[in-house]
């Protein structure tokens, strides 16, 4: 069983640890990388390209105004100026243009364009077809921004791709870790279930064994009880407080008859105490029950310690055998023997082969043989000597 536990429990602990770590780590990852999962990728190419397109559209409109004589006023260039201008703040702030601002020199170029528009605004508003110099100045100034703006657009596109790739990598990493956690969780859960099933089966087996042992023990107890009940002696057990914890039928009958010489704590308390303190049994001793000043019964009693699993004396078993009748017979025998011994006539008792088994005092005085000489001899051998050991007829 010990070996079994040593092998089984580390596996259970390992499965539990892997399971807990997987759950904890994946929870941490999901919580930690929540922003990554929820972050939306905003391509900046659109806003960058819009600025360049609007610059080109403005230049185109300006060009058209200068060369198309059917156009009477500068309405077109003015409209496009403000649309172009409206794009610049979007590039200088907000979440749609972070990649644009990350491009080297982009912010400065855009600020320069903004300053240029500020400076050119009065000229554009007062633009007339006749003022060729003003038109050329506006056109050349803004055309100088075309190449830098185009470079910003290209760099923004690269930056977009760079950020998207990094985001994809991060998500792939997270996905990888979550997959590892999932495999850990799934495998440890399977292991846990298998181990738990085996534990349950083990417990079931142990329970079955325990049940069997219990019923065996119960049967043994019943048999032992029947045997003990059949013994014509009072058998009872007392604990340290003197309480009866067991008693056979004979002892119980004695109690019902209000005569409890064998197990009464009043008479045996001190003897029980001795067994409890010494742990030794008290060998057989005779005791008499006195009722109304006279001996009513005689008992042969012994006390035996009953030990608990930890070795301590838990109870004292008292066994008392009623020997009243034997004692009375013994007393009668003593009386008869005294009468025979002191009789005036010779009294002898022989066995089947006529050998003396007993001779009384009168024999000794009448025959002249001592009792120890006569015992074992026949009358013939006593008279004729050892060798003449013939049957006496």
């Amino acid at each position: 069983v010990r070996q079994f536990q040593i092998r089984r429990y580390p596996a259970l602990a390992l499965a539990l640890a892997v399971f807990s770590i997987s759950i904890a780590f994946s929870t941490y990852k999901i919580w930690r990388d929540y922003e990554l999962i929820s972050a939306k990728f905003i391509p900046n190419l659109w806003v960058a390209a819009q600025a360049e397109i609007e610059l080109l559209r403005f230049l185109n409109e300006l060009h058209l105004f200068a060369h198309d004589e059917t156009i009477s006023d500068a309405e077109g260039p003015i409209k496009r100026l403000y649309i172009l201008w409206s794009r610049l703040p979007i590039l200088l702030g907000g979440s749609e243009s972070t990649h644009v601002r990350a491009v080297d020199g982009a912010v400065q170029t855009i600020k320069n364009l903004d300053a240029a528009l500020e400076e050119l605004e009065p000229e554009i508003l007062s633009l007339t077809r006749d003022n060729v110099g003003s038109y050329q100045y506006i056109y050349r100034t803004l055309l100088s921004f075309e190449v830098p703006l185009h470079k910003i657009v290209a760099s923004t596109m690269n930056k977009d791709e760079e950020v998207a790739a990094a985001q994809r990598d991060d998500i792939r990493h997270l996905y990888y870790w979550l997959l590892v956690c999932f495999v850990g969780m799934a495998s440890s859960a399977i292991l846990l279930v298998i181990l738990l099933f085996r534990e349950i089966n083990k417990v079931k087996g142990l329970l079955a064994i325990a049940h069997a042992a219990e019923s065996t023990a119960s049967a043994a107890r019943t048999q032992l009880g029947a045997v003990i009940d059949a013994v014509p002696a009072r058998i009872a057990a007392h604990d340290r407080t003197g309480k009866v914890i067991f008693r056979n039928r004979f002892a119980a009958e004695g109690v019902e008859g209000a005569v409890d010489a064998a197990s009464g704590p009043a008479t045996h308390g001190s003897l029980d105490e001795r067994v409890f303190s010494s742990g030794d049994l008290i060998p057989l001793f005779e005791e008499e029950q006195i009722v109304g000043g006279e001996t009513s019964s005689t008992w042969l009693t012994t006390k035996v310690p009953l030990r608990a699993a930890n070795g301590e004396v838990a109870a004292v078993v008292t066994v008392s055998l009623d020997i009243t009748e034997q004692k009375q017979t013994q007393r009668l025998n003593t009386l008869l023997a005294t009468a025979v011994e002191h009789a005036g006539d010779v009294i002898e008792i022989t066995d089947y082969h006529s050998r003396f088994q007993y001779v009384n005092a009168a024999f000794e005085s009448m025959s002249g043989y001592r009792r120890d000489e006569a015992i074992g001899q026949t009358p013939f051998s006593l008279l004729m000597g050892e060798e003449a050991n013939e049957p006496y007829y």
Partner: protein
């Protein structure tokens, strides 16, 4: 400076609106713009004030009833107060019937908005932000504004795409 710009825009657009007013009068129907046209509605509409279209100047739009609310936006750090007219009121005024509205900006940016969405939410044609009229330079003259704070389901990038600014045309399909 901004005022001067507006004034100038107004003057340059006057001849155009004058022509428009004439044709609308010929149609004998609705009110016609006096100031510069800032919104042209076309497509499946029942009412016209010009050839197949309905043109609005700022005063006409404001005449449909002003709505204002504060909301966060994807383009401003704080939550400005917007003021303007509800798109559904404009659609009602021109007798629009169609499932979709195509909105076009001055820079030719185009988005399509389901009319169902416009009747469900109080979507604004914002004319003012924080009490100031929107100029072309700052996303004017009209900016479509969704009440994204009152309706959190509108806080998506798909909805952000419909916040079309420098709006100039609505076409009902």
């Amino acid at each position: 400076m901004l005022d001067r710009r507006t004034l100038l825009m107004a003057t340059t657009l006057v001849p155009l609106t004058a022509r428009m007013a004439g044709s609308a009068a010929a149609a004998g129907a609705a009110e016609t713009p006096v100031g510069p046209t800032i919104l042209t509605v076309s497509g499946s509409i029942d009412r016209f004030n010009d050839k197949g279209v309905f043109r609005f100047d700022r005063a006409m739009l404001e005449g449909l009833g002003i709505t204002r609310f504060k909301t966060s936006t994807a383009w401003t750090p704080d939550s400005p107060e917007f003021e303007g007219v509800l798109v559904r009121d404009v659609l009602h005024a021109v007798g629009a019937h169609g499932a979709e509205v195509t909105a076009t900006a001055l820079n030719d940016y185009v988005v399509t908005i389901p009319t169902e969405e416009l009747s469900r939410y109080p979507v604004l044609l914002a004319l003012k932000m924080n009490g100031e009229y929107l100029k072309v330079k700052d996303k004017g003259p009209i900016w479509i504004v969704y009440p994204r704070d009152a309706f959190p389901e509108l806080q998506t990038s798909m909805t952000d795409k419909k916040w079309i600014w420098q709006l100039s045309q609505l076409s009902i399909l």
